[in-house]
Amino acid sequence: MRAAALLFSALTASLTFGQQLQEADGIQYEVRRVQGNVYMFASTLGNVTIQVGQDAGHDGVLLVDTGSPRLREALLAEIRKLSAEPVRFVINTSADPDHIGANEILLKPPRTVQAPAEVSLYAQDNVLQRETRDGSGIPSGAWPTLTYLEGKSFAFNGEAIQMFAEKAAHTDGDSIVLFRGSNVVSAGDIFLTTGYPVIDLARGGSIQGEIRALNHILDLTVARSMQEGGTMVVPGHGRLCDESEVTDYRDMLTIIRDRVQDLLRKGKTLEEVQAARPSRDYDRRFSTPSWTAQMFIEAVYKSLKDGAAAGGSK
């Protein structure tokens, strides 16, 4: 009877997750426990990864990205529900506005030499380079306080946090973050379930770097069994995933890259490649009004033609 009760409790545990869609400023969001110390603030405008200590007296709160400015207040309110500890670290996976929306408010008051920020904001150095350029439109209070070229590791809330710079993928400032103890990867906009990756050529992105970054994520992930569970992956936009979805995404981009490369070798122009619709079998699922298949194929074509990045293997 006791065993039956335990089995019943285990199987019905998913009833008690407490995840419930909420709405702020007309945007749906929810906070979802991923595993270990890690939660996901998921919204239709993008995802924020939240790491909190499980017991009182832990180090504090760490965020990977701070989401859209439109959900800033909702995010801060949800963080307070998860932990009474202060936010100590923010890691930006890129300089995209929908990933840095609460940077400034978290880093207040304005930093001075006499009063350094209480929150440290990590990002790849290219993020700082871009945000500090004239005309970036990003206020100084939202800029990274600490940067790295290749990566950075530190311990927080009892587990190792590893940041990896992914070169020339979605942009030239992308990072992924591995929570080693919790077994979670936060992938930023390198991995989306909502559409094709936005290969931003103007900001140093490339299809080769994108595929290379996805293969790197697959190097870090380990499925629990039957290619399911184990390392969980928080995408920049979309639902919580594991290795299998990253695999599908990597496969799709590699296949499309190979098709465009083949057309390029045959001397096809951009217009001819777009007319051939080399991503046609994936478009219904991944083409979106804001980043259409034609735009994606143009980015793939140009990054291959210009050789914007080194080859697809390590």
């Binding site: 089995l7 996901m40 399911e228 919580l240 496969d251 046609r280």
Partner: protein
Amino acid sequence: MKLHPLDSHFLFPPLLYNRPVVPRIAFLSALAGLASLASAPAFAQGGMGFNPSGMWTAMYHEDELERTDPGSPVGDYLGIPINDDARLRADTWDGDLVSVLQHQCIPHSAVYAMRAPSNLKITTVNDPASGRIVAFIIDGTYTGPRTIWMDGREHPSQFAPHTWAGFSTGVWEGDTLHIETTHIKSGYLRRNGIAFSDRTVLTEFLDIHDKYLTLTTVAEDPVYLTEPLVRTESWVWNPYQAFSPIAGYGACLPVPEIPRPYGWVPSHLPGANTVLREFSQEYGVPFEASRGGAETMYPEYRKKLEQMAIPHAKVFEVQFEQEHKKQASNPAEAKQ
């Protein structure tokens, strides 16, 4: 020897099961017992339904070629309401994909699992206090367990993870268990590259007729299907079935058996797959028909087939040759 459906050899072929053949009377008694259990108030949640708990052995009288090894040949899209996008995806699919590490241990997903070689073990999850059935767990040979929640819970949000089994809820509609499954990882409708997307919704109807369990599945995929794909599968009750899930609950470990370049993803370039016509040629199916699509599901398609040139089926030629040679080399046997 002809087998009657109630003959014990039909129900329990000795090669399949590691128990002696059961006398028919004992079996019929057991069936009667099951029938009485099925109608007992304890199993009738809300006065409806039956309890499908037990061991069920798959029957392959439907679509045997597709369902058992080696599965559908490359290029066989017959009877699947695929669109052009799905056709291109299947045309460019390369069977070598299963050698990629991340693909080696993928089980059949809910959309395909019930159709595959799949003996079942069905159990219940009961509320220990009330005894109420909270869920059915359907465990299949080549997939992980599927949980069918019967407690009225909602399906998770768009941000919840997808799984191979998906998230299933069930309600009784008379004596039919109506199952709705969402949150399924993308996978294959056939093991020859016909894909379904992660937006697929699976609707199933589970019925029992005497000792037979029949599942009617309706797969709807806005990405790759133009119409719902409706299929049925049946199982026969078999309390002596030794259930051994091949998926193994973690026993599968990916192994790099062949050296491959880092990040290698095999596929054919569009228009470059040279084996797409083999199914048509082997089985004498017009190539146009082998391309599938909604119209190939319906009986009316036969009229269209009559207007097509039917290729000579090589498979029958080969079979004839093999049988003929065998007879020639063994005249004594050939006379019998």
